[in-house]
């Protein structure tokens, strides 16, 4: 029967190498049998084995009742096995827990001191709210147990009780506090209390201020470092509430920092000073300055100390906390912090990276980024992206208890392992991604506030493309900045591309450089340079590069080469992602337009015609296969542009050239013009307004004009019109075919010029003066004054004049009428209709790179100086365009506020972390000095409330009773009048009454009154109508209401008659419900 004990199981496990699974299954079967045995010894042994196997992931929840049996064993040895099993295997849904309650109570009151320890250790693991209250009465007396060991465990157990049921802390806290204040208490009990108070403290620091003197005493008394650390941590939450503490704490903390041999205590002192805001609070005083200097020098020393990476790690954590308030102090130690970026340990690197991101300013940005870049360059990519599925055992079936592989090693006592390499591992891809993301974040922070050299930045971006990890990995390696990077595209190369594009759009001055960079990226002969591996690592950047090349084609150093590169990519189209290809397709006609119109005044010679035709032919050749591309976007664009190109080819072919004219003997003075399709129509497709960055929230801020009903059909007779149009279409296709006309009739030049007008003008009048101003918009901010309000005002007036008769133009002034110009009104007005489309009115702020005021003069890009580096060039950076007002969302940080909004939304549905013990219940529980009084008050209040509720209930019941009686009386009055059967009514009433009792009280009088009315008039008028209904419901109601009816003795005798007379019933409104 009894197979093996725990040692035999373990030994057996070790000797069954290779078939452990089988062995375990066998053992589990054995355990199942043994645990049912009557012999408690066998039971306990089986349980012990189960607990051991549970550690390896073999569920033992099925044995929970047996656990309880063993727990209740009178023998201590068995009991403790049971308790261990309960701790290890009970889950929140374990049902036998309810049965355990009495056992726990009994063991808590056991005379045996050792036995008391068992429930004390187990309760924190199994406690739930319903148990907490009943166990409390047994736990509190344990606080004064003679053994310190039991006292301190009781304190902690009480704390866990309070976590699940905060009210339990109210009676327990005064006793715990007494223990803490008792100077003769065992020091280890005091330490345990301090631990608990520290856990409680950050939730409600104000309640613990009164303990400050005692805690201070304990801190200065010294002795227990662990406790001192906890006290300091507690104080760091108290100091913000009690500024006087700062002065008191400074001397002891300083002396601890100077004297303690324990590094942990030293560190926590510094940490406490930082977190408690002591540094800020004491700023200016000599002590404060001294302590700040002391802290930073100690932290610095921790960073440079040899051989202890832990200190480096925690020092970086501390530095990170200081940066938010004292960034300049931290950047003084930039040198040592930057060393940590290259630390061999990835944990340290990540911390350093986090820190550095917060630390950068205009001066150190380049240094830091160069350093990170160098790291990326030199580290080399991870040899092969380590497949997480092979390495991460977490994704499959957990740990199989294997036979131990070599016992020698296991018996070897502890010596450092040498076999592990001490060199830096190759950078894992996620870290690499994370670094790239951070670089982008640092550089682009606050719309490039720290960026002083955009040419350099473009170089960095191009460099980053090479460093993109070959497999798309999401970053955030061990990062705390996860939310910040959440909105980014999944692939980091996308992010790099987006940055490149962002710079190109925002910083006009470096557009040529950006275009050149795009050309480099696109150029096919340099492809292996940038995208060495076959993986699609950096390729996503090509989409942005192609867009830049297309959009700013006129700035490209060699547009033709770019076009060639794009066209040659057809050789490798299979490798290009569809999104990249789509971007290529979009860029092609733009490039084409630039190439064909490069010299608008050049005569249309046959040479030119031939080159144009050749160009078209090449593009067509490229496009043709793509019309069958599986990606719909690519396919659509290919089809569209293919047709456009064919039209262009036709136009070019049919257009007479100079030479033709001459040979045809035309007038020699006449120079043939290139086809307008090429010079005007196609370019105008792509040259509209300047593309400007638009804030995330801008669209949302466009106010809906008054009187605009989006739901209303624009034209009520749309259907009719459509039908008419159908008819119309058939007979007048020629006149209607404007497209045909446009292409084949020689247009007058004004047609092309006017082509883009309406839409463009609505948004931005192409007056050159205003345009340059709008383009130079560098920063805008909801708070800043418009640069030139008057000018804008004037322009607005002009525009109003111009559009006075335009029905599509909604005038803000006109719309908002003549109400008083209060500030609110101004806000409303500024956010109302027409003006919103006025780009010029967006406030313009100059970019201030230095404190000096630099006029934001647009700098004409010239090809000559773009290679030259200037020490300080001032770039204008176009801020996001948005609309003022409407929303109080600051435009620049719109994405940030968006994300914060998202988090605010998410907070409600926040999923607690896996191991989290929720203590939020405690935050509502007050324990402060007058806790006793207050708790008394609230207690009384509770009682009062309950009493009030009960009274109300009683009153309601009385009321119901009264109404019932009234109705009965009323009915009795009715009865003699008409010879109506009261029986049916009685039944009805009963139903009503029953229902009312459970119903809310407020309905009662009304419902009762209604019933009364029905009772009166129903007898005369309504009865016939309702009879039918009544018959249907009758059967059920009789059956269900019989018992209720029986209770009312007086009615019982008449009951049988009911059925017979039912047809004359007059009131049934509630019965059938």
């Amino acid at each position: 029967m009894f197979e093996k004990d725990i040692y035999q199981l373990i030994r057996g496990l070790r000797s069954h190498k290779g078939n452990e699974r089988e062995y375990i299954q066998d053992s589990l079967r054995e355990c199942r049998r043994e645990i049912k045995s009557q012999d408690m010894d066998h039971k306990a042994t089986a349980l012990m084995k189960l607990v051991y196997l549970e550690m390896f992931g073999h569920d033992m929840s099925w044995a929970s009742f047996n656990v309880l049996e063993v727990m209740s064993s009178p023998k201590y040895i068995q009991k403790r096995v049971g308790y261990l099993a309960a701790v290890q295997s009970f889950r929140p849904d374990t049902e036998v827990l309810m049965l355990a309650e009495n056992l726990l109570k009994k063991d808590l009151n056991s005379p045996d001191k050792v036995t008391i320890g068992l429930p004390l250790g187990a309760i924190p693991h199994v406690i739930n709210a319903s148990m907490a209250n009943s166990l409390l009465t047994d736990l509190i007396p344990r606080l004064s147990h003679s053994l310190p060991a039991i006292r301190k465990k009781t304190i902690v157990t009480l704390y866990r009780l309070a976590l699940v049921y905060p009210e339990t802390l109210r009676p327990a806290w005064p006793k715990i506090k007494d223990r803490l204040l008792d100077e003769n208490e065992d020091p280890s009990v005091t330490a345990a209390i301090v631990n608990v108070v520290c856990e409680l403290g950050w939730r409600r620091p104000q309640d613990f201020l009164s303990l400050a003197p005692r805690l201070f005493e304990l801190l200065t008394a010294g002795g227990n470092n662990w406790m001192a650390i906890k006290i300091i941590k507690l104080f760091s939450t108290l100091t913000p509430l009690e500024p006087r503490l700062v002065k008191k704490l400074l001397p002891p903390l300083t002396s601890i920092i100077k004297t303690t041999p324990a590094m942990s205590l030293l560190y926590e002192c510094i940490n406490g000073i930082i977190q408690g805001g002591i540094m800020e609070a004491a700023e200016g005083t000599t002590d404060g300055d001294e302590v700040a200097r002391l802290c930073l020098s100690k932290l610095r020393a921790m960073l440079v100390v040899e051989g202890d990476p832990n200190l480096r790690y925690v020092a970086l954590l501390a530095f990170a906390k200081i940066t938010s308030s004292h960034a300049e102090l931290v950047s003084q130690h930039q040198d040592v912090i930057l060393e940590c970026i290259d630390d061999a340990d990835i944990s340290i690197r990540t911390r350093a990276l986090d820190l550095v991101v917060d630390m950068i300013n205009a001066n150190n940005l380049q240094t830091v980024v160069e350093r990170l870049l160098k790291q990326l360059r030199t580290a080399g990519k991870a040899p092969e992206p380590t497949d997480p599925t092979t390495e991460d055992r977490g994704t499959h079936d957990g740990i199989v208890p294997r036979a131990d592989e070599d016992d020698e090693e296991m018996q070897a006592s502890i010596r450092p392992k040498e076999q592990k390499p001490n060199t830096a591992p190759p950078l894992p891809d996620d870290y690499r991604t994370s670094v790239i993301e951070r670089i982008l974040e640092m550089c682009s922070r606050a719309t490039y506030a720290h960026m002083s050299d955009f040419e350099w930045y473009i170089g960095v971006l191009v460099d980053l493309v090479k460093q993109c990890p070959s497999s798309p990995a999401t970053g955030n390696f061990g990062s705390h900045h996860t939310t910040a990077s959440k909105d980014r595209p999944p692939n980091v190369a996308d992010a790099v591309g987006a940055e490149l594009l962002n710079v190109a759009v925002r910083v006009k001055a470096v557009r040529p450089d950006a275009a050149a960079a795009a050309q480099n990226l696109l150029s096919s002969d340099r492809r292996p340079d940038f995208f060495p591996s076959a993986g699609s690592g950096g390729q996503a950047v090509l989409a942005s590069a192609a867009f830049i090349a297309g959009e700013y084609a006129s700035l490209l150093p060699d547009a033709e080469a770019v076009l060639t590169s794009l066209l040659q990519s057809s050789a490798s189209t299979q490798q290009l992602q569809a999104s990249v290809l789509a971007s290529y397709l979009q860029a092609l006609p733009k490039l084409f337009a630039v190439l064909t119109t490069r010299d608008p005044h050049a005569p249309w010679t046959s040479t030119r015609r031939t080159t144009t035709m050749l160009l078209i032919a090449r593009i067509v050749h490229f496009l043709e296969p793509l019309t069958l591309h599986p990606d719909l976007d690519v396919q659509e664009r290919a089809v569209e542009y293919l047709d456009l190109m064919r039209l262009a080819a036709e136009a070019a072919a049919s257009q007479q050239t100079d030479d033709d004219e001459e040979s045809g003997g035309g007038g020699s003075s006449y120079a043939a013009e290139p086809p307008l399709l090429l010079t005007q129509a196609i370019p105008s497709l792509f040259s509209g307004m300047e593309l400007n960055p638009v804030a995330h929230a801008a669209l949302r801020k466009v106010p809906q004009p008054e009187g605009l009903d989006l739901a209303a059909p624009i034209n009520g007779s749309l259907q009719m019109l459509l039908r008419q149009a159908d008819d119309y279409d058939t007979d007048t296709d020629e006149a209607n075919d404007e497209v045909y006309k446009f292409y084949y009739d020689k247009p007058s030049s004004s047609v092309a010029a006017g082509y883009q007008r309406p839409a463009a003008e609505l948004l931005e009048p192409p007056t050159s003066a205003s345009k340059s101003k709008a383009a130079s918009a560098s920063y805008q901010d909801a708070e800043t004054e418009p640069l030139d309000r008057e000018a804008a005002e004037r322009k607005r007036a002009e525009r109003r004049e111009r559009y006075k008769d335009d029905p599509y133009y909604i005038d803000s002034e006109r719309a908002s009428g003549t109400s008083t110009p209060t500030p609110m009104h101004n806000i409303l007005r500024s956010s109302s209709n027409g003006e919103e489309l006025d780009v010029d009115a967006i406030p313009v702020m100059e970019l201030q790179l230095d404190s000096k005021d630099i006029p934001a003069a647009p700098r004409a890009p010239s090809a000559n100086d773009k290679k030259k580096k200037r020490p300080r060039r001032h770039f204008e950076i176009a801020g996001d365009e948005t609309l003022e007002g409407g929303d109080d969302m600051p435009s620049v940080s719109s994405s940030a506020s968006l994300s914060s909004k998202a988090t605010a939304g998410a907070r409600g549905t926040k999923k607690p972390s896996l191991l989290e013990v929720d203590s939020s219940g405690l935050s509502a529980l007050s324990l402060s000095d007058d806790a006793a009084a207050r708790s008394g008050a609230t207690g009384r209040f509770d009682v009062e409330r309950r009493q009030a509720e009960e009274e109300e209930m009683a009153r309601a019941i009385r009321e119901v009773e009264r109404l019932r009686l009234e109705m009965q009386r009323a009915q009795e009055r009715i009865q003699p009048r008409g010879a109506l059967a009261e029986e049916g009514v009685v039944v009805t009433r009963k139903k009503v009454r029953k229902k009312k009792k459970v119903d809310t009280l407020s309905e009662e009088p009304a419902a009762a009154a209604a019933d009364d009315d029905d009772g009166e008039e129903g007898g005369t008028a309504v009865k016939k109508k309702r009879r039918k209904k009544r018959k249907e419901g009758g059967e059920d109601s009789v059956a269900s209401e019989k018992p209720a009816a029986d209770e009312r003795d007086s009615e019982v005798p008449v009951k049988p008659k009911r059925k017979k007379k039912r047809q004359v019933t007059f009131d049934d409104d509630d019965t059938v419900e």
């Binding site: 040692y7 373990i10 550690m55 992931g57 569920d59 033992m60 201590y76 403790r80 261990l84 295997s89 889950r91 929140p92 050792v114 924190p124 693991h125 465990k153 902690v156 856990e199 939730r203 227990n224 470092n225 662990w226 650390i229 942990s264 560190y267 926590e268 990476p309 832990n310 925690v314 061999a344 340990d345 944990s347 340290i348 390495e391 991460d392 055992r393 977490g394 294997r402 131990d404 592989e405 296991m410 018996q411 070897a412 006592s413 502890i414 450092p416 392992k417 591992p425 061990g478 996860t482 939310t483 988090t903 998410a906 999923k911 607690p912 896996l914 191991l915 989290e916 013990v917 929720d918």
Partner: protein, 180 residues
């Protein structure tokens, strides 16, 4: 507070698992293996703090107030002694360096109880291992950091460490402190 204490060997086989919240066995195992993956990849020269394993990583959408973060486990501290890894998962209210000392006290107590402890001792006496932990941490709160008192407390429970019979004990000298 401390959310979990884990001990496993160089192969990731658990020797002690203690979670101060009730957790499904399967989830426990996943967490264990995630941490093992992280910890086993670290060179000895690395520091003793791990990035959060994926299971514990804060759900990205919820970076809520610091108050709530104090409840969530945010610190994974480990120490490596010969064949064993000792891991503490804790919230930010604990001091990282102090936790390292706590592990040290834990191991020292074991060493005191077993006289030159090795992994085999812990395998065969995992009940004692639990008892030692129970003397130091109750419900996630540290109740004792003094070596003497821990040892005393365990001995008072009558859990005399039993050496497995027939198991050879080779080369257990040098003490557990040769590691870090």
């Amino acid at each position: 507070m401390i959310n979990a204490v884990l001990v496993f060997n160089n192969n990731g086989q658990p020797r002690l698992t203690k979670f101060y919240t009730q957790l499904d066995t399967a989830v426990q195992q996943r967490l264990l293996s995630e941490i093992f993956t992280l910890v086993s990849a670290r060179p000895n020269s690395a520091c003793n703090f791990l990035p959060l394993p994926p299971l514990l990583a804060p759900s990205t959408s919820s970076s809520s107030s610091t108050a709530e973060q104090n409840d969530a486990p945010s610190l994974v501290t480990y120490r490596h002694y010969a064949t064993l890894y000792f891991i503490l998962i804790s919230t930010s209210t604990e001091s990282p360096l102090a936790l390292l000392d706590l592990i040290q006290v834990f191991v020292e107590s074991l060493d005191r109880l077993f006289e030159n402890v090795c992994e085999l001792d812990l395998i065969f006496n995992f009940e004692t291992l639990h008892a030692v932990l129970g003397e130091m941490i109750v419900g996630g709160v540290v109740v004792e950091t003094g070596l003497e008192k821990v040892v005393e407390g365990v001995k008072a429970q009558g859990r005399v460490a039993k050496r497995p019979v027939n198991e050879g004990r080779v080369g257990l000298t040098q003490g557990i402190w040769a590691g870090r």
